[in-house]
Subunit: 241 residues, 2 copies
């Protein structure tokens, strides 16, 4: 499994993904699940993926092919699409087609493949937008009321987001929130694992403002994780029954 | 859905369940999911249920019939069974049979029913034991390493248990832990709802030491819930990035 989360805030967008991929418990590997596309100052797009690796890799490969194609147009390339809505449509259509292709091959073995994605971005002159693309290619969008989207193992890390994240949350606080949301997920679910990929896209920058791979021994993440454990235990012990 | 949790501690056992049952989002009702059986000083058994209401209700009805049957024996009645292991076996067998009966009726409509249960108890002279009974009737047991069992929507409320509960946790702290675990679940999942049923079985008492229904407006639960929110927000804001 996977855990990916994206926040759409007034100050910008924050993306976080893990990297664990497993086919059974005895076949664990590290694969990137965050993909960043940018033409600095013009357009930035971040895609987070969850689900069948064969589906997500093929979808990303086709999206890249379409960008590099000599006939690339606003209908086919996410880097030329006239709006973020169109970007989400292109990703959704590509994902749906890849799934159909792979499912057709898998039919004999009665296995079904599935994948979902978070697509976030901004083009110059447009607004920041963030979408959750479902396996069928349809999608929903993050709004002021619900400024975050999650894919994969989303339940463990939802309570902390529900409590602390609003659209007014600063990018620093947002970074803390997604890392602690991931920390809760890592502790409770083996199928989500380090290292993590983290990115910040500041509003109207139209580029990736910060990108970082957080390794297992990362001192900042470890300190934050311990501080959160301590804060929870202390808060817990202070509550009167 | 449902959320039920049981803790098996050195000092005793703590049980908590919600009461929401839904058939779709437009058909919500309140049903008890905690069932307590006792012969004070001799034997106490608590059963928590999750899953298809027709399965859990029929299973409980058959367990009660077996207790009251004039031919009741240690092989059929959970109140006469010679060990808690045997109690878990009787519950598991009854559950598996009920499921088979109901699934046979449902076959035409391609609907499958399922249910799982937590069975906790102690008989005089025996040890406290707690089992999670799967839909197929097999079961696992809580141990020192993992002193809690959950059924239903267990993911939201798992992080807090993972962090604060050990077998040495006192019954008061345990009460706080399960209520806050439930609080996180209630906030993040609509299919889990108040009121709650709470019970404590002290070690070697062989009776229900405390049982309480916690209503939606319960002042203690509300205060604890707010205090926990405050503690989380405060702990969160104190962590340096």
């Amino acid at each position: 499994m996977t855990y990916c989360v994206g926040l759409l805030l007034e100050a910008g967008m924050v993306l976080l993904s893990d990297t664990r991929t497993n086919a059974g418990l005895d076949n664990i590997a590290t694969y990137r699940k965050m993909f960043l596309f940018e033409e600095p100052g013009e357009r930035v797009i971040g895609i987070l993926t969850a689900g069948s690796l064969s589906v997500t890799q093929t979808t990303l490969a086709r999206l890249r092919d379409a960008i590099e194609d000599s006939d690339a147009s606003g209908e086919t390339s996410i880097m030329l699409a006239p709006s973020m809505l169109k970007v989400a449509e292109i990703v959704g259509n590509t994902l749906a087609h890849v799934r159909q292709d792979i499912d057709a091959r898998m039919e004999a073995s009665k296995v079904s493949t599935s994948a979902s994605m978070i697509v976030a971005g901004q083009r110059r002159g447009g607004a920041m937008r963030m979408f959750l693309v479902y396996p069928e290619g349809n999608f929903i969008e993050a709004t002021e009321d619900t400024p975050y989207l999650q894919i994969g193992e989303h339940k463990y890390g939802k309570p902390i987001l529900d409590r602390v994240v609003t659209t007014a949350t600063s990018l620093d606080e947002a970074r803390k929130a997604v890392l602690l949301s991931m920390d809760s997920t890592l502790r409770s679910n083996l199928s989500v694992g380090m290292p993590l990929d983290f990115a910040v896209i500041e509003k109207d920058a139209c580029k990736v403002s910060l990108r970082r791979r957080i390794q297992k021994e990362d001192p900042d993440f470890t300190r934050m994780s311990h501080a959160w454990s301590d804060a929870l235990r202390e808060g817990f012990s202070r509550i009167e029954i």
